[in-house]
Symmetry: C2
Subunit: 302 residues, 2 copies
Amino acid sequence: MSILVVGSVFFDSIETPHGKVDRALGGAATYFSVAASFFAPVRMVATVGEDFPSEEMDFLKKRGIDVSGVQVRPGRTGFWAGRYHEDMNQRDTLDLQLNVFADFRPQLPASHRDAHYVFLANIDPKLQAMVLDQLAAPGVVGCDTMNHWITGSRAELEKLLKRIGILVINDEEARLLSGERNVVRAARRLLAMGPERVLIKRGEYGVIQFSANSVFAVPAFPLEEVFDPTGAGDVFAGGFMGELARSGDTSEAGLRRAIVYGSVMASFVVEDFGMARLRRLSDDDIQHRYRQFVSLTDIDGS
Amino acid sequence: MSILVVGSVFFDSIETPHGKVDRALGGAATYFSVAASFFAPVRMVATVGEDFPSEEMDFLKKRGIDVSGVQVRPGRTGFWAGRYHEDMNQRDTLDLQLNVFADFRPQLPASHRDAHYVFLANIDPKLQAMVLDQLAAPGVVGCDTMNHWITGSRAELEKLLKRIGILVINDEEARLLSGERNVVRAARRLLAMGPERVLIKRGEYGVIQFSANSVFAVPAFPLEEVFDPTGAGDVFAGGFMGELARSGDTSEAGLRRAIVYGSVMASFVVEDFGMARLRRLSDDDIQHRYRQFVSLTDIDGS
């Protein structure tokens, strides 16, 4: 089945201790869509400016991404520039130009209203709710958010959490949203706010998933070099939701496999700048690393 | 088979955000021995003062720990007082009195010289080497260390690393000893220094093991409360080496199971102050939590 995602498309100028890149294709919806496209057809809902290059639009289409929900509007595509510290968990924003993204109002083509698998990438919770309002019967709904909305739009966010099934956030956001420092207590508090599952991304330490009666933890793939962590969380979500849409299996086992596929995808994207590694990724690469994850985590294995 | 450990015995006064305890039995050799004693007979090499209570000596003996290598010397047992921050990865030392530990020189009883499984807990690498010098044919040798020796006694430590099989250290120590920030590069560098395996303890994120041709990562058990992290690393090592000595299985699979047993033991000790949780721990508790670890990490499970 296909998967619908709403979120941002940006150009990113990124500097890390390993180098830099100028105006690389980025944004949560883009990273998510490209990752998910390795698993299932994707419908992307976003906005770009008139400056958006046709080659990049062609790249998305060639990956099986339906861009009929991408509004091309007068003005420029959003732009972000950032610099990562030696400790790449820290970064500074050097420039942020929202451009056409500033007044993005998601409008779904009629053809998209039957979406069953939905991911609300990190945007204003009001816009995330607008997307749900336009859907006939959303089935599996994942959602991301960030500190900005947790502190600035808490009421809207809490309303939204009652309408979604799977919350995908990082550990810092989980603490801020729950008011709990301990990850188990944070997750319990978040589950009580609505979602059936909470996936907490812990960067180089992997992902931990909580539901009412299960916990699953998977480490990140141990890499010798992380060149650029930009987009890793969105790519994780793309691999995760993409695999769910591909398999249709939302049992505990299906969710666990999807979390590993998300982790696999995230482990690739950080190996090069921006989207570069995903542009040359093969299905064989994905299956090979999935097996490495099994070996990495198998208590009885070798 | 039995296991020989050399290290410190202290009394600890500990304050955490959850409460405090005065003069609780502690020290790396003690935590290690008590944890390992759930798996195999333990021979403990250490020193205590004349003030060491006979009830505590009886507690060790009742756990099957051979204390014939524990020297009782004129003076007082070592004492440490510390306070943990809200973030319990941070702690301040409030008081440190080495007492009889200051001039500890490990002397093994003749009966101990045949030891095959050996753990050199965190003490001066010169003393760790003295223990190896007294052994006829040490087989499986594990070793811990700390920042103090890495910066102050690097030459002795590097000499020692060529004589041991399994290095068990935390992530901060791994970075300091290797000069590498990235955990994979740090581990590769440490393997090149001598040991066949490097186990890196990552606190609440678990443990990652590296050998020349395998990597294994296991998360820590997700707990709602950590009351007191004191001794968790030593208890991990005790469960790990204890299970190796019990099973005699040093294959990759045997080592992985031992790492999980170490993680199981560490998850218990932090549930109460000092050694309190281990004093009331049962074999059933251990087996139950081992199964929880399997469920926590099983990609195909539920």
